[in-house]
Subunit: 115 residues, 4 copies
């Protein structure tokens, strides 16, 4: 099962069985995405480039659990807001493609407004 809509349906069901929608206002949901995202980031704190690579290879299971937490809140918030997340991603990539044309952006990490 790799479909965002199907997973979102399961997330919604999990939430509603517990009667948690009352707490899942958009602000707390957005705040929760940030909190879970920083738990991913914490894995890499103080680590050098080399250490980051090795750590990632050795701890992908734990990091995957944190990424899953980000995804759960992300999919649910999109759903709560009536956003089709897959479509939003596709649209955003088209937009980014125009902001970062291959010939200008290739091999650079410069922000679009300084390209």
């Amino acid at each position: 099962m790799a479909d965002i809509k199907e997973i979102t349906e399961k997330i919604r069901q999990f939430r509603d069985e517990r009667d948690w929608l009352q707490f899942h206002n958009h602000k707390d949901m957005a705040l929760s995405i940030v909190l879970e995202a920083t738990e991913v980031l914490e894995h890499f704190q103080w680590k050098s480039h080399r250490e980051v690579e090795q750590y990632g290879a050795e701890h992908s299971k734990e990091i995957g659990e944190e990424l899953a937490d980000v995804a759960k809140y992300l999919f649910e918030l999109a759903d709560n807001l009536g956003i089709d997340l897959s479509q939003a991603i596709v649209d955003k990539m088209a937009h980014d493609g125009a902001k970062y044309p291959v010939e200008k952006a290739k091999g650079k990490h410069t922000k679009y407004n300084k390209l």
Copy 2:
């Protein structure tokens, strides 16, 4: 198109056309998920519960663009780490279901270790 793997394939292609993998180490990717997540959160700063609801309804398009940015980095980081994100979400929900059994967690926002 709602499949995480398909979208991830497009994200990877976008990145590789621009030769950006060299910048996309796990630490900067995790950091970027956090940065994009805070852009979502910023929409709700200083707003009351009522204002949050109304704002969400009126600005879902802009918020959807920020959620898409979170998703893009999230899907790519999972991919870079060799994580099957869909499976990780399903596994995490099973795990959470055990930590938050319906009969104990219903209608409460208490953390599992205090339930």
Copy 3:
């Protein structure tokens, strides 16, 4: 002791006794401020306005420890960058005062560019 420079001197000494400057590059310092700040925020996750007030009153000691962690990294990063933080705050407030004149900003949480 309430002086930023004195406290910063103690922070520097603590760090140097442990030979930690090698890890305290600006990126990891900035990342660490974010991580500690989210630990403050986590205290308020899922809580209603009323619960937040009560929780703050009852847990100010624990929250104070998290705020201290933010301050430690904040003061050290400013120091590492050669920034006089007290002066930077005073300057920023003067700048903010011009962006948010009392007569326009009073009683509103509107961003300056929409005032």
Copy 4:
């Protein structure tokens, strides 16, 4: 002027002239510290160790403005919670000193529970 209490007094005055205390509940304050902290972090996104050093040297003024924003919310939140921030920092450093004794922690970025 380098005294946290004096600066906090000015911050409080700035806020009260604008009648902003009504928006400055602890949750939004904590959230705002996070948002400002990520603005610091954004300066270093995608940059290599070498680039971070050079960028920090060349942009300390802008970064100082972001650090000032973090400090303003940090000092005010501590004040709102009745926390003596200077004392909290001193106490936290004593606590950290016990968790990270020099002879065990020197030259390592290991977390205390794995030292």
